[in-house]
């Protein structure tokens, strides 16, 4: 078998070895070897770094602990009470809600409209698709930094537009009234292209005969769109909504270079709230309680959403 190299795959193996005398069926031995060699690395890594930490978060959340030595100061559910009594927690939750609202009300219609325009073939369509997708592959940190320049009250693009009208430039990121709005615009900038690509992929795999049938039956373009194309896209729309919501619950990297969640917690997301209050101060118990709450929200949402909206997929 040593002569088989990566460049002579399937055929070589099956044909040459007719000469082989060792004819045996799929033996349990072989399968057992694979089981004990191939599964453990993945299962071990996953258990060690994903499952155990979640379990430990639940355990640590019952202690007042700074991470050194062993946790001994058992305080029961007090950490959860402290979290729920923090105003910043509710602000963070509200901000996550706002992100979801903007994703649904602005980002999704924008992505769908662009997809409908760019799924057709015309000169420049592919280039525009790539351009619109590009923000998605940029690191969130870089995106956040770029926009902290855009919003900068002294040097930024927004400031220069304001000045050209003779107005005093605003410091959007430094005001509790505008910081979250500024973050929301960046979110749309960064993610609409991803959702657009999902829709384009779906549009390109649609059954064209349904659309042609509708046209032949005398439906206008708008009617075809409304009653044929959009309904065919429902599964993708549900998927896109799912990603928008899960994505909002994970959002962190983008917020850090823009506002670090401030000023006065006005632009925290759940994860930046967790970072600012738990991780950066090594309050392990308190931070774990936030983590567990976030975990429960994510899992509950994922299961409910799958059950209600994505049953057939």
């Amino acid at each position: 078998m040593a002569r088989h190299t990566a460049s002579s795959p399937a055929m070589g193996t099956t044909q040459t070895s007719f000469a082989s005398l060792a004819v045996r069926g799929p033996s349990w031995d072989g399968r057992f070897t694979v089981l004990i060699l191939f599964l453990p690395p993945a299962l071990l890594l996953f258990t060690l770094f994903v499952v155990l930490p979640i379990g430990e978060a639940a355990w640590y959340s019952a202690f007042n602990w700074n991470g050194f030595g062993k946790p001994t100061n058992w305080i029961g559910f007090d950490n959860y009470r402290f979290v729920l009594e923090t105003r910043a927690f509710w602000l963070a939750l509200r901000n996550n809600g706002l992100i979801i609202a903007v994703s649904l009300a602005i980002q999704l219609p924008l992505a769908l409209t662009l997809a409908l325009m760019l799924a057709e073939k015309f000169r420049g369509a592919v280039a525009l698709r790539m351009l619109f997708f590009m923000p998605y592959i940029l690191a969130e940190i870089a995106t956040g930094l770029i926009f902290s320049f855009v919003y900068d009250g002294d040097y930024g693009l927004v400031a220069s537009i304001w000045r050209s009208f003779g107005a005093e430039p605003p410091h959007l990121l430094a005001s509790t009234d505008t910081s979250m709005m500024a973050v929301l615009i960046v979110i749309v900038w960064k993610y609409f292209g991803f959702h657009m690509m999902l829709f384009i992929a779906a549009l390109q795999s649609l059954d064209k005969s349904l659309i042609e049938a509708a046209r032949i039956d005398g439906a206008t373009r708008a009617q075809t769109l409304r009653h044929v194309v959009i309904p065919l896209l429902y599964p993708t729309i549900r998927l896109s909504v799912f990603f928008a919501i899960i994505g909002s619950l994970q959002l962190f990297d983008l917020v850090m270079p823009l506002t670090r969640g401030g000023p006065a917690d006005s632009s925290n997301t759940m994860v930046s709230f967790l970072y600012n209050n738990g991780i950066s101060r090594m309050r392990v118990g308190y931070g774990s309680a936030i983590g567990v709450i976030l975990f429960v929200i994510c899992v509950t949402f994922a299961f409910t959403y799958k059950r209600w909206f994505m049953r057939d997929e």
């Binding site: 399937a10 070895s17 993945a42 040097y155 900038w189 991780i279 994510c298």
Partner: protein
């Protein structure tokens, strides 16, 4: 179709509207990126009065200073090491597990697979404090592996699902024939499954690489030494040091996102297919 052709008069308002709309969105996307690139070529004074336009006076020095600094290359090197570790380990462990799930029936296999897919349900951030303590207790704090291993663990769920689906489509007769001929499962995996699965391996590799290359939270928590920082951490430190010298920061941003953009332009089809396939099929 002929209907569409005939209505295409030179002054179709729909076409005009479409062009305007696409143009506006293109400007919305491009302006921040171009302003960043060009801003790096300006002096701080010019940036203040002319943040949008072409530089009147090209300051090549901003870019040159960064390109000839050891710091820039060290950040890229660290990122490359961490991402390469994450991609290699993900591909090896995920493909082995996926092969087992695809081809071997054993008691509890579907339960184990569901167990792995739990990883899709929540972000790494939820457990990042216990994860920090775990990595510390393992003595991996402040090492490349301390960042890469958790990244592998969190990418396993998606990777195993994508790979298993592909492996299952390899005709069963092929495996059967090979086994009858005395080829072992492991050799079949090495010489048949893997070579036939290059497209999906590339997809999984791309997703893992992009995620690891851009990651911020895990390295932030796991690394303390500047010399080990990947570029997203390094650029935040740089921004802290040069807080309002935007011309330098913009040049630095441009140079750090340049590798991503070049890679994207070279392999755009694979990257788009990979990232959207990962999303859809997950």
């Amino acid at each position: 179709m002929s209907n569409a052709e005939t209505t295409r008069a030179p002054f179709d308002p729909a076409v005009l509207f479409k062009a305007l709309f696409l143009g506006l969105i293109a400007i919305f996307v491009l302006v921040p990126l171009l302003a960043t690139l060009l801003g790096g070529f300006k002096s701080l004074g010019e940036l203040r009065v002319n943040p949008f336009g072409w530089p009147k006076h090209w300051e090549w020095q901003n870019y040159a200073d960064i390109l000839f600094s050891a710091r820039y290359w060290q950040l890229l090197r660290n990122s490359l090491i961490i991402s390469t570790l994450a991609v290699t380990l993900t591909l090896i462990t995920a493909s082995m597990a996926a092969f087992t799930f695809a081809h071997i029936k054993f008691y509890g296999s579907s339960a184990l697979l569901s167990y792995l897919t739990l990883g899709l349900l929540f972000p790494a951030a939820t457990a990042v404090l216990p994860l920090f303590i775990k990595v510390r207790d393992l003595g991996l704090l402040d090492t490349y592996f301390g960042v890469a291993l958790p990244q592998v663990a969190f990418s396993l769920a998606m990777s195993v699902l994508l790979l298993r689906r592909f492996f299952k489509d390899i005709p069963y007769e092929l495996l059967e024939a090979a086994l009858v001929d005395g080829c072992s499962y492991i050799k079949f995996f090495r010489y048949v499954t893997l070579p036939l699965s290059r497209p999906i391996l590339a997809t999984v590799g791309t997703i893992t690489f992009v995620n690891s290359w851009n990651a911020y939270l895990l390295p932030l928590v796991m690394l303390n030494t500047d010399a080990l920082y990947p570029w997203p951490l390094g650029i935040m430190v740089y921004q802290g040091e040069y807080s309002s010298e935007w011309h330098l920061i913009l040049a630095f941003i441009t140079l750090t996102i340049l590798p991503t953009i070049i890679l994207f332009l070279l392999a755009q089809k694979h990257i788009v297919a990979g990232l959207t396939a990962g999303a859809v099929k997950g």
